[in-house]
Symmetry: C2
Subunit: 326 residues, 2 copies
C-alpha cells in the first residue's frame, strides 16, 4: 500500500489519509478554527524546497517531517513562545511520489508535535514538479517578549549551544566535504548528522531565563535563532538593536574534537541551520542564567557603536559573509 | 531596476524591498506577533504552483497576487469571517525571475488586502525551479459559524452567483477550448477572463444573512465556497451534513448568453475556481435573504437521504465528476 503513487491514489483518498494525522475534533472544513482568549499570537512561515533545502539522498522523509516542524518552532521559541498551538502544512508533491514518502513525512512531523506540542490544524496539497513544504506555525507568547531589536549595550551575548555541526552533517551526507574527514571522531560525525537531520531547538531555555531574572519589570530580551548561521544571528541582533557586538573567539564553545582551520571556522560561523538561540542579558542576569543552564555559553558582549560584529582573539581572518538562500 | 534578476539582486536587497509591502509598525523579526482579545480565529493555507495553477502566459503577476489573497480569503468568508487580520506569504521563486514579477505580484496582493482588509504579517522566501506561492490567511470569526457540516434537510440551497466563468476564462487564455467561441459575446468573454484572473469573493453576503435572520439563536449555517466547482461544493455540504441535495437544473443562474450544451454544463458544474458561496438556509429565512440579495439564487434544497447530489430537470447527463488537483 505504501508503494502506491499519489497519482494512482487519487486526491480524495490522499485527503482521507492525511486527515488521520489531524486531531479527531478537527473537522475537515474550508479552514481551521481556533478559540483564543486574549493572547499574543506568534506566527511563522518557513519553506523547504527540494534540491534547495533537501533531497531524498541526504534526508529521510521522516527526518524532514521532524525538521519542517522544529525549524519553524525555532523561530517561535526565539520570540518567546511558551505554548505551541499547531501548524498548517502546504505540501507540493510530484504525482509520482509514493504514499510511503508522505506517510513518513507526516509521522516525523507528528513526532515533533508530540515532543513540542501543537497539532496539525489544516493545510493544502497540490501537485508540482519538485516537492516543497510550507509550514505556518502558530504559538502563544509568554510573559517575556524576545525580539531581535531588544539587545542593549553592555549586555552579555549568550549561545545555547554549538555551531557548525549541521553544516558538517549536510556536507557529509552530500559527500561534498573537501576536508580530511578521516580524523573526525565517530561521535562528532554522528552528532553532526543528527544536527542536520533532527534539529532540536531548546524550548526550555526560557524557563531558566525567567528563573534567573531579578526584576519582573524586565520583559524584553534581544534574541534570535541561528538558523542562518551564528554570524548572521549576531549581525541581525546588532543591526536591529543598533549596537556593536564584540565576540571573543576563544569563548566560542566547540563540539568535542571539532577541528581547527579556516574551513572549519567557516562552517562554524556561516554554516547555518544550527537552530541555537543567540540572545543577550544584562551582566548580573547573564551570570545567574549561566549558572543555571550549563549547556549555554557566554560568547561576547554588546557595546555602544555602529551596528557591526567584531571578532576578537581570532587566529584566522573571518569575513563578514552571510548565509544565502539564493 | 525592475528588470534585475533575483539572483543578481541578492537576498538582503530582496528582503528590504519586500518589507516595504508590510505595515510600518511590523518589524522584521523571527516571526509575526499579533494581539488577540478572546476571539475565534480562522486560519487557511492555499497553494498556487506554476504550471499547475498558473503560468506567465495565462495570468499577469499582478492578477496572480490579487488571486492569491482573494481565493484564500474565500475560504475564510465561507467560514463566517468578518474581519481579515492578514497573511503570511511563502514565496518560492526561480532565481532568474525579474524583480518586476515579484513587485507586480505583491502590488496585486496589496490591492486585494486594501479591498478586503488585512496586512502582510510575514513570510518566507526561497529559491526553486518553479515559482510557487503558499499563502496562510488569518481572520476573525463573526457571530455566525459557517461550516460544511451544518446544512439540514428541508433547507434551501443558495448560490451567490454564476458558475463556469472562471473555467471558460482559463480555457480562453490557454487557447485550449474545443467549442466554437465565435458566437460568444464580448461581454461573456470579458467577464470570464475577469473571473479567472480577478476572482472577487462576496464578502458582504454575511450581512444580508444576518439582516434577514429571524432568531439570533440560529448561529450555524451550512456553507462552503465553490473553489473546486459547483458540484463539489454541493457534494461536500451533502456529505459532511449527511443529507441529500436536490438541484433543479432550471433554477441554475447562468451568465447572460452562456451557451447550452454538454461541455458548457461540464464547465458549469466541474470547472472550479468559481469562488461563489454555496449555502443553505431554512425556507423562511432563505426567502427573506433572497429578497435582500438580488445577486443570489435559490438552486435546490436538501432532503433527508443518503449523502448525494441529484440534479433534476437536466437536459443532459451530468456525471458525478469532481475537480482534481492531480
Amino acid at each position: 500500500m505504501d508503494n502506491e503513487r499519489i497519482k494512482d491514489l487519487g486526491e480524495k483518498e490522499l485527503i482521507i489519509r492525511l486527515s488521520k494525522y489531524m486531531p479527531k475534533n478537527q473537522t475537515k472544513d474550508d479552514c481551521a478554527s481556533l478559540s483564543i482568549a486574549h493572547e499574543n499570537l506568534l506566527i511563522n512561515t518557513d519553506l523547504m524546497v527540494e534540491d534547495t533545502h533537501f533531497n531524498d539522498k541526504i534526508i529521510h522523509p521522516k527526518d524532514l517531517g521532524w525538521k519542517s516542524v522544529t525549524t519553524n518552532y525555532s523561530d517561535l521559541i526565539s520570540s518567546g513562545c511558551v505554548e505551541f498551538i499547531g501548524i498548517n502544512i502546504g505540501l507540493i508533491i510530484n504525482p509520482e511520489t509514493k504514499w510511503y514518502w508522505i506517510k513518513e513525512f507526516y509521522e516525523g512531523a507528528c513526532e515533533a508535535l508530540k515532543y513540542y506540542g501543537g497539532v496539525i490544524l489544516g493545510g493544502d496539497c497540490s501537485k508540482g514538479r519538485k516537492t516543497a513544504i510550507s509550514v505556518t506555525a502558530i504559538g502563544l507568547q509568554g510573559e517575556l517578549s524576545l525580539r531581535r531589536y531588544s539587545s542593549r549595550p553592555e549586555e552579555i551575548i549568550i549561545t545555547t549551544g554549538y555551531h557548525g555541526l549541521s553544516k558538517l552533517g549536510y556536507l557529509l551526507k552530500k559527500s561534498k566535504i573537501n576536508e580530511d574527514i578521516s580524523k573526525l571522531t565517530r561521535e562528532l560525525i554522528s552528532q553532526s548528522l543528527n544536527s542536520f537531520q533532527r534539529p532540536k531547538p531548546k524550548r526550555d531555555f526560557l524557563q531558566n531565563i525567567i528563573k534567573s531574572r531579578l526584576s519582573t519589570d524586565h520583559v524584553e530580551i534581544g534574541c534570535t535563532d541561528s538558523s542562518d548561521g551564528l554570524y548572521q544571528a549576531i549581525s541581525d541582533l546588532a543591526a536591529t538593536s543598533n549596537c556593536k557586538a564584540i565576540i571573543d573567539y576563544r569563548k566560542l564553545p566547540k563540539y568535542k574534537n571539532w577541528p581547527n582551520g579556516n574551513n572549519w571556522d567557516e562552517y562554524y560561523f556561516y554554516g547555518g541551520e544550527d537552530y541555537e538561540l543567540i540572545f543577550s542579558l544584562p551582566k548580573d542576569w547573564a551570570k545567574r542564567y549561566l549558572n543555571l543552564d550549563k549547556t549555554s555559553y557566554e560568547i561576547g558582549k554588546f557595546i555602544k557603536g555602529l551596528p557591526s560584529v567584531e571578532i576578537i582573539n581570532s587566529p584566522l581572518a573571518i569575513q563578514g559573509n552571510s548565509y544565502s538562500h539564493f
